[in-house]
């Protein structure tokens, strides 16, 4: 014990700070943020529960997921997710259950359908359009800079006259 204390005494400030920092990093914080009273039979089930309640939106709130909401309906839906996981339903089946009752609103990542196509790919389409226009402008500017100006004889003569006048 004394050796241990002695060795701590010998540590300089930097090493102490590093030790403290390492301790902070090693402390699991996320494990304590949510208190689940639900019982799962495996770690994997609990993981799926977390994932689903993180990715589904609370219907009565504007922008809170089921995990973060204290609303009554969110509480009920968490309970339903737990029940369905225990009963052995897949994530897709649980999401379908939610969709049939609450529609697209429940998803933070709306499903890819004909009417949500633009929502998903609209920004990409605009990016391509912008890129296309920029490319066109760039090409035209480059082409213009390459045009060689050729004068015929009379024009050349006039140019020389003008230059001579200036001088």
């Amino acid at each position: 014990m004394t050796i241990h204390i002695n060795s701590l005494h010998n540590l300089n400030l930097t090493s102490l700070m590093l030790l403290l920092f390492a301790l902070i990093l090693l402390t699991p914080t996320s494990a304590f943020t949510q208190v689940d009273t639900f019982q799962f039979s495996s770690e994997e089930q609990q993981q799926r529960f977390r994932q689903l309640s993180d990715e589904l939106r609370c219907p009565m709130c504007q922008n809170t997921n089921l995990t973060g909401s204290t609303g009554g309906v969110a509480e009920d839906l968490r309970r339903e997710i737990h029940r369905m996981i225990i009963e052995g339903l897949t994530d897709e089946e649980i999401e379908q259950f939610m969709f049939e009752r609450y529609g697209d609103f429940i998803f933070y990542r709306p499903r890819l359908r004909a009417d949500t196509f633009f929502l998903w790919f609209g920004p990409l389409i605009f990016l391509f359009m912008g890129g296309f226009v920029a490319y066109g402008i760039f090409r035209r500017a480059k082409a213009l800079s390459k045009i060689e100006v050729a004068f015929d004889e009379s024009q050349q003569k006039r140019l020389e006259e003008l230059l001579a006048e200036k001088l």
């Binding site: 219907p59 609303g71 009554g72 309906v73 969709f99 009752r101 529609g103 609103f105």
Partner: protein, 178 residues
């Protein structure tokens, strides 16, 4: 062709502006019901008074399904409208007592009057989930065949009754050929 090239950005801009302009006036709180034109979910529960109730007990004419709770203050605002509908015999109203306690629900009905044919007791909100309810008050219009035709979220006062429910009910009557 060149003219088209010149006007294309303008056309795109106008299209985008019109879409976004419309978006400004959409209500993000409005959550369309998934159950429109779908049959009432199956249920076998008890009423607030303790009697067993199921789909067979629903009125065989068009009716309103009102989601309420004793904790719900806006429910008191719409309550007189339902009392009037009962007195005038216009349309039956079935209640869904949502996430409430039985004793408190009975007390609320005694204190304020009971406008409902019966109230389905949904203490844990499980039936509410099947309906897609996200908070009281909500009111559904169900047709004679038990198909949900309309949903209104929040208070159903006289204005909402006149402007939303009366036309919706009239439409039902036209459809059923009365």
């Amino acid at each position: 062709m060149n003219r088209l090239k010149f006007f294309l950005p303008v056309i795109i801009f106008i299209g985008l502006a019109a879409t976004l302009w419309k978006g400004l006036y959409l209500d993000p709180k409005e959550l369309p019901s998934m159950l429109i034109d779908k049959p009432m979910p199956e249920f076998a529960l008890t009423s607030v008074q303790g009697l067993p109730v199921g789909n067979a007990d629903l009125p065989d004419q068009a009716f309103l399904l009102n989601v309420w709770g004793s904790y719900c203050l806006p429910c008191l605002i719409e309550h007189p409208t339902f009392m009037r509908l009962l007195e005038e015999g216009q349309i039956p109203v079935v209640g869904v007592n949502y996430r409430d306690q039985k004793e408190l629900a009975i007390e609320w009905l005694q204190d304020n009057g009971d406008p409902f044919s019966f109230s389905i007791l949904d203490e844990d909100g499980r039936f509410g989930i099947d309906l897609g309810v996200y908070g009281a008050p909500e009111t559904y219009l169900v047709d004679a065949n038990g198909v949900i035709r309309y949903r209104h979220v929040s208070v159903l006062d006289e204005t909402v009754w006149k402007e939303e429910f009366m036309p919706a009910i009239a439409e039902l009557e036209i459809k059923s050929g009365k």
